[in-house]
């Protein structure tokens, strides 16, 4: 049984404060803290490529029993790859890590729903090919494409990367097994978040409507499919779009705030890394049995899955 053994993240320690932009964008402190929920956004250093962010996440994995030469596959989820996307960033990472030739590598082009997709794809890929050890990386440094004059995006998106170790679960070690995935796409509205001519542009209202209208439907379908009720879910880890969006989502679904963690304040919305950032923070908390993950954004694409704790 393949399960999530560990997650590690890297947040570049270079930040832009949103409080410094109050005058430029006519903002007040209350809006920054209580609505956006983002007090500062992380920015990668100029000499860091997407694959470097992945490498730094891996350095933080701190898993002494993981031998890189035994890794069977590495997958990078990004829409801001190294260079112009050829070669794929996972191959560049493979080279930098000096991994064996038998290690499979591919990239996944998805945004905020990407982590859930990647869990499903890599789980299935490993199980169908008899692989024992895999690494999922997420790194989507939007600072490469952000327009510094666009208040819709520059205040919101931060850079970060994550790595998730998937391995054959041992009987005793704690691991999280992904169970039941659901996916959805609304391609007719895909232009709501786009990169045209190298600049990111977002229609916040369309993204907000998807989060508030479509996400709850999928979550209820997921619960129905797994025979669980809301009270069985210990934590809802939602893509960290904005604090306002998460507050409204929790309110509309009648979810207790303590079950919907928000961790935007110190780095912002980190696209496909927002879910692993939350997971890293919470997966070792005692008493948790069921965690629901839901990513939503670029595409429009949204995806959910249930993680069940395995082992003691």
């Amino acid at each position: 049984m393949i399960a999530i053994e560990k997650v590690a993240c890297y947040i570049p320690q270079q930040f832009e404060s949103n409080f410094d932009k109050e005058d430029i964008f006519l903002l007040d402190r209350d809006f920054i803290v209580n609505k956006l929920g983002v007090e500062r956004v992380s920015r990668k250093f100029s000499d860091e490529e997407t694959s470097d962010l992945c490498l730094k996440a891996l350095e933080r994995l701190d898993q002494p029993n993981l031998l890189l030469k035994e890794v069977d596959c590495i997958v990078v989820c990004t829409q801001n790859p190294d260079g112009n996307g050829i070669p794929h960033t996972s191959a560049i990472l493979h080279g930098k890590l000096d991994l064996p030739e038998r290690c499979a590598c591919f990239d996944i082009s998805l945004g905020c729903s990407g982590y859930v997709y990647a869990l499903s794809i890599v789980n299935a890929f490993m199980e169908s090919n008899g692989l024992k050890s895999g690494l999922i990386f997420t790194a989507d440094p939007y600072s490469k494409i952000i327009d510094p004059g666009d208040r819709n995006t520059v205040l919101l998106f931060g850079d970060a990367a994550s790595v998730t170790l998937l391995r054959e679960a041992s009987e005793h070690a704690i691991a999280w097994k992904a169970k039941k995935f659901l996916f959805a796409t609304k391609g007719k509205e895909c232009e709501a978040l786009n990169n045209r001519d190298g600049r990111l542009s977002m229609n916040g209202r369309i993204i907000f409507n998807m989060a508030i209208k479509d996400v709850p439907i999928q979550i209820n379908e997921l619960l129905e499919a797994t025979g669980l009720r809301h009270r069985d879910i210990d934590l809802y880890l939602f893509h960290q779009g904005s604090k306002y969006m998460l507050d409204q989502l929790a309110r509309n679904m009648n979810l207790p705030k303590e079950k919907v963690p928000i961790n935007l304040a110190n780095q912002g919305n980190t696209v496909s890394t927002s879910l692993p950032l939350l997971l890293e923070q919470h997966m070792h908390s005692p008493g948790l049995r069921n965690i629901l993950l839901c990513g939503f954004g670029v595409g429009l694409s949204w995806a959910s899955c249930l993680l069940i704790r395995h082992g003691e």
């Binding site: 809006f31 609505k35 229609n203 916040g204 209202r205 369309i206 907000f208 409507n209 508030i212 209208k213 904005s242 306002y244 409204q248």
Partner: protein, 80 residues
């Protein structure tokens, strides 16, 4: 039956806690001037859309949109 105006004002009261509407003239002020920010606006529009099963086009909602304009747009969409 609750009028469209009353219904929109009820939605505003629920969705925008900092909104200050003292009189009818406030309905003609840009939303920001009456304490409704861009995020509250998204919620208000969504609730109006859900209530009346309409879809308010993005192009109708400019930076100077007012509550009276939202009521008028919704009214026209309901009629059609």
């Amino acid at each position: 039956m609750t009028s469209l105006k009353e219904e929109v004002l009820k939605i505003v009261a629920r969705e925008a806690e900092n909104a200050v509407i003292k009189n009818d003239e406030d309905l003609d002020k840009p939303l920001k001037e009456i304490g409704i920010d861009s995020l509250d606006t998204m919620s208000i529009l969504l609730k109006v859309e859900e209530k009346y099963r309409i879809s308010i086009p993005e192009k109708e909602i400019g930076p100077k949109v007012t509550l009276r304009m939202i009521m008028a747009i919704a009214g026209n969409l309901i009629k059609s």
